[in-house]
């Protein structure tokens, strides 16, 4: 890292070109290439030097990615390791020891080690802080028992970020502790959690006397809620922000069928289609405006509203598509239990019923629509918070 760090996109692009000249992606093993890119600080330029970055602004990263893409270089398949990149990495960066940052971040970024997130539980969904998974100290280790749900990628993960209850005798937000846990140990069992589509995108994770070295604790004992905020703040940025062309989302399926198959058309469905076309296009423009705000450094609070709109639209449009297709929609393609490589929200190659069913998850996953509305009402509109009955009650005494 002897060259001084560049601070504008063009110098940075030049740096990528120099790297590429020395590392021919066509001639190198993919993993070796990714490791070299990491070591050159071109993985995530806003990370510190020595940890895959150059200590620059996050906004400079797209220029780097684009330059690599232009050269046909392999990427780290970010959709596959989204939880590691988006949620685990910022948390590890903020709370892990220097040694462990070095140990964890490189294979996390290259995708050699997949990370998953052990937060939600059957009894703690919207109310995450009510979670019940217990961690009890035992010498230099912690012993963990409990059940987590809605865990993407758990069956492929080497590591997980985990929130546990370490003190049941204090109010719920205060008795939590955050860890990184080795998913490959015997005390961790991963079972597929199947959805109404027939697929199992998610998992349940059962921990039975699983063990964690105290060194893998992230943040202080009892500070788990604060640490989890770091993680969750990074989750919601991603949603609703995709940049799609007109008819690029769910509406595209219905519009395509409408154009291709005049025999399905009715006046009532035309009106319904046009209403949803308008809503979809307006939502798309709203996403575009949201991105412009972010770029202009005016981070708006519209993210939660965008997620709400996205869920509602996907549900309404896929519902209309079913009615439009009629008899065809009564036929499904395959109920067989499968484990998809990644989340497929739109199901472009699936039966319309898949889109209809999968969309039902959109208003539940990543914060329910009810939670989104609470967030907008309280944090954006400044409306009074709900009357809280659980603030000063020891976790163990909460009604459940």
């Amino acid at each position: 890292m002897s060259t001084p760090a560049p601070t504008d996109p063009e110098t940075l692009r030049e740096r990528v070109r120099v790297f590429l000249a020395e590392h021919d992606p066509a001639a190198m093993d993919r993993l070796d290439f990714l490791r070299a890119r990491y070591d050159a600080g071109l993985a995530w330029v806003h990370f510190p030097e020595g940890l895959g970055g150059l200590g620059l602004e996050r906004s400079l990263q797209p220029a780097v990615d684009a330059e690599f893409a232009k050269a046909g270089a392999p990427d780290n398949d970010p959709r596959r390791i989204g939880i590691g990149l988006g949620m685990a990495a910022p948390t590890l960066l903020a709370y892990a020891s220097d040694d462990l940052k070095k140990r964890w971040l490189r294979p996390l970024w290259t995708g050699e080690e997949v990370w998953c997130q052990l937060f939600s539980e059957p009894g703690a969904g919207s109310d995450l802080a009510a979670l019940a998974t217990r961690a009890v100290p035992d010498g230099d280790e912690w012993v963990v028992n409990g059940q987590k749900v809605w865990t993407s990628q758990a069956h492929k993960a080497s590591w997980a970020i985990l929130v546990t209850r370490t003190d049941p005798d204090v109010p719920k937000h205060r008795g939590l502790t955050y860890f990184a846990i080795d998913m490959t140990q015997p005390g961790v069992e991963v079972r597929p959690l199947r959805q109404m589509t027939g697929e199992a995108e998610f998992n349940e994770v059962f921990m039975t006397d699983a063990r964690i070295p105290d060194a893998h604790r992230l943040g202080a004992v009892g500070e788990g809620w604060k640490v989890a905020q770091t993680t969750l703040m990074n989750e919601r940025v991603a949603i609703g922000g995709g940049s799609a062309p007109r008819e690029g989302g769910m509406i595209g399926f219905a519009a395509k069928e409408w154009r291709a198959r005049p025999e399905l058309r009715t006046p009532g469905k035309h009106e319904a289609l046009m209403k949803l076309w308008v809503d979809a296009e307006v939502a798309r423009l709203t996403g575009q405006r949201l991105r412009q705000q972010l770029t202009a450094g005016q981070p708006g609070p519209e993210g939660s509203a965008a997620k709400l709109a996205f869920a509602r639209l996907n549900q309404q449009i896929s519902g209309l598509e079913m009615e439009l297709l009629g008899e065809e929609a009564l036929r499904y393609d395959d109920w067989t239990m499968r484990r998809p490589e990644r989340t497929d929200m739109l199901g472009a190659k699936r039966a319309p019923g898949f889109r209809f069913l999968r969309a039902k998850g959109n208003s539940i996953e990543g914060g329910t629509s009810e939670v989104m509305r609470n967030i907008i009402a309280e944090r954006v509109l400044g409306l009074p918070t709900e009357v809280r009955v659980d603030k000063d009650v020891a976790w163990k005494d909460l009604p459940r």
């Binding site: 009629g326 009564l330 019923g353 909460l398």
Partner: protein, 356 residues
Amino acid sequence: MNLLYTDVETDLRASVRALLDERAPASAVLAHIEDADNTDLKLWRTLATDLGCAGLPVPEERGGAGATWRETAVVAEELGRAVTPVPFLGSAVLGTAALLAAGDAETLEAAASGEKIVTLAVPLTAMPDSYAPTVQAEDGTLTGTVTSVADAGHADALLVPAADGLYLVDASDVTRTPVVSLDMTRRLTDITLDGASGRRIADGTDAVARALAVGGAMLAAEQLGLAEHCLNTTIAYVKERHQFGRAIGSYQALKHRLADLYGAVSQARAVARYAASCVADDDPDAPVAVALAQAYTSEVVVTAAEECVQMHGGIGFTWEHPAHLYLKRAKADSIALGTADRHRAALAALVDLAPA
């Protein structure tokens, strides 16, 4: 027109519900959901024979229970409530209605007594005002395909519409292909007739039209039962489920949505009762009543099932919870026998509100 439930209807409901609660609770239906064939024929025999559900609207002297479509609607409500996988709609409703109109005494008696399953071979999406037969008849020989037929998998005989009338065909003379169905508790079958021999039991299309009209009224009752079940099961859940130290049913946003859903279900009950009564009485307002009921209940049932999933949160999205069975049936029902907008269009013509 009496829109309430009579004592007889209330007793009938109690019998059916007791049987279903015992023999086909949601857990049992769910346990068999991946079976290649999950039709509960044993349960159907009990319903059809012991409780007379196969021939409720058929006069006693013709082998039935001597009741009307009103009582049949109550059974439809209960079967909807429990998403019971039995061949009720395709045979005891559509088949029986067609046979009653056609007047084939022997087949009617066999069907009404529950001895035979006789299914009307139309796509589940058929509507009275637009249905056109897809099978050709020539000298009593039938050729063609009928796709997406409900309750045909275990039929002993099929009632096959052709241009010149309705034909009775032995099920062993046709090829039946099971369809991977959205509605896992009412699976569909594609039927191919390749020169099957049939006996014409009615001329023209009146019998089919009548069956589809009756079907619409009974389907509205099924949708009512399903919607009401979704409402009740959701109310029970939100009273139990705690988040933030409170039952989630204490949050006003959920309370208001459930109050609205309650209102919609109450309204669905009134219109479903009206449609069943009109059909039972052969009232001149029956076409309006059926279109009205279908236009309304098709939307309520989907809303109810969607709210059921949403208010159950994550668990409602899983395969392990029965909510998806209700959702799949609800959506399929909203498409079955015509979507709401098609019924609104039919209604517009009936009440002199011409389109633009």
